[in-house]
């Protein structure tokens, strides 16, 4: 089974091959990462067949390990293992990754840095693939960090505009602040286990000191809250829309936000040992689900709406984790990955066609873009939780597990979230696809865009029926949703959809309502003042402190430096004039010098040194690769 390693390695190789090349060459070989990614997806599917019929989570079917270094007699290991959970995740991530890359071929074709885009995309997917296979928490953390970097690069891809630049910094800083929790958890784990091996950690967790258990749980939850955009750290995700749309599909579905939920699901046996951990997960989750859901109702930008919907769905996943129900959560993670990435890609087609992201300027697209309409509808209905689409099954499973814990309050709040979901989905759906066309020259997307979207749509259509099979694959009892529960949630969904239609059709006068609840509306439009609060509490004091440092620097330190340099310049000028008049004494000499210096500058900017350095670093990377992977013991 050693070929399994090729699944994460193929995109990694694509990254390594392209990263060293100059831009012009990289732009010409964008097919290389795409082909590597598709090959990886095919291998993942073969792996799924091989692993069938699955088994317990954590039951390793294939594993490998390299010792990278031995520090103070404890080995630093890079270990991978394939269990049923990793298999499912590999399939999900590689399929979504392939669809996104194929889609991007058309979407990004005119960008002059598209080679770089595909390079980062490869690294991003590869890191996620490595993360799901990681059997060592330190290694998982390394991959976690690489993903943070990649999301920074992708969100800030169009770095020449201000919004993407700021959004990328925001995303990076917020997730970094959360990552501190991961580091604290790692340190705490090391004090108890002396190793980062996942199996050892999970088996020995029951014997840890309660305080350590708490620190580890809180640290990991904090880290995942940043990565998976939970309240109150969710502020980065809506801004992340500034990046290219296909990359948003990847961040929102398969990689970045999924990583947080995935790591928590992996470590759930540890967190479940402390009651506080589970309660915290539930609380955070339900708040996030409701905040996300309400804010989504107020969005007019189609991508922003999808972003808040992602936050809300991630909140639901946290609720599932809080109910100690890893399998339903992971099932929802998978179905959500497929339909949310598909929604983003479809939104990309729509944006391409209408040249706007504002839903109020769209309308009547159903006639002009029939295929896009069909696939978007599948995704939207699945998101709303309509029978028999996959979203319905996975959401109901989470609701069922919440009910099993006996926490009816959370269940009721969950239904409210389902109501809001159906509401904003139906409102958006009617607005975009029906009514009067408001833009001219709308056209259907190309085959290169529609094929990946259709694949994802097909998966969304059928995946729901595999709900018990999914649970069995992960070694759990699978069951179909209970009739009573299904009826309740369906009724709620339909009610939400109906309200949405009323709002669209003007039967409910939104204008009047918003005037009546003026404060509430303003609060929602201002994203519940989260950004404002962060600005007031953290950013402004920080800036003031920076300003103070800068003033000190400018007055005291620069003063000294400038004084010295002025004196030096004076001395140099003196010696130069001596040199020039006594030794050379030639004016035409100066003229030629000036001319030649000009030519020099022209030459210096040929950028060749950069190429040399790139080649040198590339050679080092390849040699490191040779040394560590091929020969390292």
């Amino acid at each position: 089974m050693n070929w399994i390693i090729a699944i994460p390695l193929l995109p990694a190789i694509a990254f390594l091959l392209t990263v060293c090349l100059p831009r012009s060459v990289r732009n010409k070989i964008v097919m290389l990462p795409v082909v590597m990614m598709i090959a990886s997806a095919v291998l993942a599917l073969v792996g799924l067949i091989k692993v069938f019929p699955g088994g317990e989570i954590g039951h390793s079917i294939w594993s490998t390990s390299w010792t990278l270094a031995t520090i103070a007699a404890s080995p630093l290991k890079l270990s991978l293992s394939l269990d049923p959970l990793a298999t499912v995740m590999l399939v999900m991530v590689s399929i979504v990754g392939s669809c996104v890359q194929v889609f991007s071929l058309f979407y990004m074709k005119d960008d002059d840095r598209k080679g770089w885009y595909f390079t980062v995309l490869s690294l991003f997917t590869s890191a996620m693939l490595f993360l799901v296979m990681g059997a060592d928490l330190l290694f998982i953390f390394a991959m976690w960090e690489i993903m943070g970097l990649c999301s920074y690069l992708l969100i800030g891809f169009w770095y020449k505009d201000e919004a993407p630049r700021k959004a990328s910094q925001k995303a990076f800083l917020v997730t970094r602040a959360a990552d501190i929790g991961f580091i604290v958890a790692l340190a705490a784990i090391y004090t108890q286990c002396g190793t980062f091996d996942l199996a050892t950690i999970l088996s020995s967790a029951a014997s840890w000191a309660p305080s350590v258990l708490l620190v580890v749980s809180l640290g990991l939850i904090w880290a995942a809250m940043g990565k998976s955009a939970q309240w109150p750290l969710m502020v980065w995700l809506p801004d992340a829309m500034a990046g290219p749309t296909p990359s948003s599909a990847l961040i929102h579905a398969a990689t970045m936000v999924a990583a947080g939920v995935f790591v928590l699901a992996r470590m759930l046996p540890v967190i479940a040992l402390s009651h506080i951990g589970l309660t915290l997960l539930t609380t955070i989750g339900i708040i996030t689900a409701l905040v996300g859901g309400f804010l989504a109702c107020f969005q007019t930008d189609i991508k922003k709406m999808l972003a808040y919907s992602t936050i809300s769905q991630l909140g639901l996943m946290f609720v599932g984790l809080g109910a100690n129900a890893a399998v339903p959560t992971l099932f929802h993670l998978t179905t959500h990955a497929f339909f949310k990435s598909m929604l983003f890609l479809a939104a990309g087609i729509i944006i391409h066609a209408t040249h706007t992201q504002d839903m109020r300027k769209m309308g009547g697209l159903a006639r002009k873009m029939p295929i896009t309409t069909v696939v978007f509808s599948i995704g939207a209905f699945s998101l709303a939780g309509l029978v028999p689409l996959s979203g319905f099954f996975s959401k109901d499973e989470i609701f069922a597990s919440v009910l099993k814990t006996g926490n009816t309050t959370i269940f009721a709040l969950g239904l409210v979230m389902a109501l809001t979901t159906a509401l904003y989905v139906s409102k958006a759906w009617f607005t975009v696809f029906f009514g009067k066309p408001r833009t001219k020259g709308v056209h259907e997307g190309t085959a290169l865009e529609l094929v990946p979207v259709s694949i994802l749509a097909a998966l969304t259509l059928v995946l729901g029926f595999f709900s018990p099979a999914f649970a069995r694959f992960l070694g759990h009892e699978g069951a179909w949703p209970e009739m009573g529960l299904a009826t309740i949630s369906s009724v709620v969904t339909l009610a939400g959809a109906l309200i949405g239609f009323f709002m669209y059709a003007g039967i409910i006068d939104t204008e009047k309502l918003s005037h009546r609840f003026n404060i509430l509306t303003r609060a929602f439009n201002e994203k519940l003042y989260f950004d404002y609060a962060y600005d007031l509490i953290i950013i402004q004091p920080y800036m003031k402190f920076c300003d103070l440092c800068w003033k000190f620097d400018a007055k005291v330190i620069d003063g000294i430096v400038n004084g010295v340099s002025k004196a030096y310049v004076g001395l140099s000028a003196l010696s130069w004039s001596f040199d020039g008049s006594v030794i050379d004494g030639a004016v035409n000499g100066c003229a030629t010098l000036a001319k030649k210096t000009g030519n020099t500058f022209k030459k210096l900017q040929s950028g060749r040194v950069l190429n040399y350095q790139r080649l040198m670093v590339g050679a080092v990377v390849i040699l490191l690769f040779v040394v560590v992977i091929l020969k390292g013991a």
């Binding site: 390299w66 010792t67 990278l68 270094a69 031995t70 520090i71 080995p75 630093l76 000499g589 030629t592 010098l593 030649k596 210096t597 030519n599 020099t600 030459k603 210096l604 060749r608 040194v609 040399y612 350095q613 080649l615 040198m616 670093v617 050679a619 080092v620 040699l623 490191l624 040779v626 040394v627 560590v628 020969k631 390292g632 013991a633």
Partner: protein, 479 residues
């Protein structure tokens, strides 16, 4: 430290005196040329003291280990510096006192490099040997090519140093000591190999071994030929002997088979890449200095090859060959320094300066490896020790590289002896690259420059048959 210990350090003091002389040259008799002459004389004196110095002792609390190979390399470095300064005294034009001082400082650094037995002293030596070379490359501030070359050299060299020092910090972290004797990297898993790799990346860049040679052609092309004569020979001897000492120390401290195999693999990759790249890339070059840069790459490849074997005799042969290579490379460039930067400029040399033309032919033949020149013997010992170590296929690669590179060495000889000056053809084919600024004074054969070339030629012819003795001198320190 007894009197012999101080004797080991006397040459450094002597070189420092020469540096001081050069820095105050305008106030001292005979000006710049006097400084170069004094530098040459003192360099030869240092070489003699190095030959007489006692070996095997740790000095300065174990920071320096003056072994037989270090003694040989130091003597060679001082000898080559002397020859270069002698030529400089006779031929170089304009203001040269800083070049003399910088050259002497670089030689001091080189001597420190090859006798270091401590990572910190090693880094210090490497930087002392390299820093002056940046300035030397861009020595004439009105030559744009030189400045460009210097900046490129500087930027790439800094990157290499960065990687190397990164490796050094890892090594210190693993071994808990900076002493060469304690560099046991075998028990640290892959990290030990990564550290060694990074260290050697720096050293590969210093000896311009592929794939870290990118600075060499550009830097050499920009500089003046007489500067290249120095930069391409002396620091390279120091670099390769340091590499050899490191391989010895690391391999004997880290004894596991996996480690040594992987270490060899790194060296093999660099050696094969250098030989393949250097030999073919030089074929189409028209500029003498570019050709010599690629020749340096090929020769770095040859010299890395015996290190793969890691046996005593194989590394001794490398030390001997490095000096032979330095002599031939310096001689060839010093001859062309009076002519011009392009190979085409050598046309008619046999008519203008027959003696210089013959010297050029001897240096080129030594580079190719034709008996009885020194280059042949050096290569012979290196190749046989590699075959004995069981790496026959490497020698086959090296032989092919030798044959390919023979072609471009022979172009020097062809241009000097057989090509007819054809003005109209030359004009039509003239490359767009800016030619060197015309040398103001007409070429005059001076006594000192001729002496330098005579010494160089004599050594290239005579040392070959004596290389057996030289090997013995390195391998059996009691002799």
């Amino acid at each position: 430290m007894d009197i012999h210990g101080y004797l080991t350090f006397l040459p450094y003091a002597v070189l420092l005196v020469a540096v001081a002389w050069a820095l105050f040259a305008e106030r001292l008799p005979f000006g710049d040329k006097g400084a170069a002459g004094v530098g040459a004389l003192l360099s030869f004196v240092s070489a003699v003291i190095f030959v007489k110095a006692e070996i095997g002792a740790y000095l300065f609390g174990g920071k320096i280990l003056f072994t037989a190979d270090a003694r040989f390399a130091c003597a060679g470095i001082c000898l080559l510096t002397g020859i270069w300064l002698l030529w400089t005294a006779g031929r170089a034009q304009g203001r040269i006192r800083e070049a003399v001082a910088l050259g002497l400082l670089a030689s001091m650094g080189s001597c420190l490099m090859v006798s270091a037995s401590d990572l910190i002293v090693m880094v210090l030596g490497i930087e002392l040997a390299t820093m002056p070379a940046y300035v030397l490359i861009g020595y004439r501030r009105n030559r744009v090519n030189g400045l460009e070359g210097a900046i490129k050299y500087f930027l790439l060299s800094v990157l290499a140093s960065l990687l190397m020092i990164y490796g050094v910090t890892f090594m210190y972290g693993i071994a808990k000591s900076t002493s060469f004797g304690a560099l046991n990297m075998a028990n640290a898993g892959s990290l030990g190999l990564v550290a060694v790799l990074l260290l050697f990346v720096g050293i590969f860049a210093k000896i311009s071994a592929a794939p870290f040679h990118y600075w060499a052609p550009d830097a050499y092309e920009g500089a003046e030929s007489w500067i290249v004569a120095y930069v391409s020979s002396v620091p390279k001897i120091a670099g390769i002997v340091l590499a050899m000492r490191l391989v010895n120390f690391i391999a004997s401290a880290s004894k596991t088979a996996v480690f040594q195999d992987t270490f060899s693999t790194i060296l093999i990759i660099a050696a094969v890449a250098s030989m393949a790249l250097g030999s073919f890339a030089a074929l189409t070059q028209r500029n003498t200095k570019r050709v010599m840069a690629y020749s340096g790459v090929v020769n770095a490849g040859y010299m890395l090859m015996p290190l793969v074997v890691m046996s005593a005799s194989s590394v001794a042969s490398v030390a001997v060959y490095s000096v032979f290579y330095g002599l031939a490379s310096m001689g060839l460039l010093l001859v062309t320094a009076s002519e011009g930067g392009e190979i085409a400029d050598l046309v008619g040399l046999s008519k203008r300066r027959p003696a210089a033309a013959w010297a050029l032919a001897i240096f080129a033949l030594s580079m190719v490896g034709v008996p009885p020149m020194a280059g042949f013997f050096g290569k012979f010992y290196m190749f046989t020790s590699t075959v004995k170590g069981g790496h026959t296929w490497l020698v086959i690669v090296a032989t092919i590289a030798s044959i390919v590179s023979a072609f471009y060495y022979m172009r020097f000889v062809k241009a000097a002896f057989f090509d007819q000056p054809a003005e109209e053809i030359k004009q039509a084919e003239a490359p767009v690259v800016p030619v060197e600024p015309a040398i103001d004074e007409p070429v005059r054969t001076t006594f000192l420059a001729s002496t330098a070339l005579v010494i160089c030629t004599t050594l290239v012819v005579a040392l070959g048959p004596l290389s057996g003795f030289l090997l013995e001198w390195i391998l059996n320190p009691t002799w």
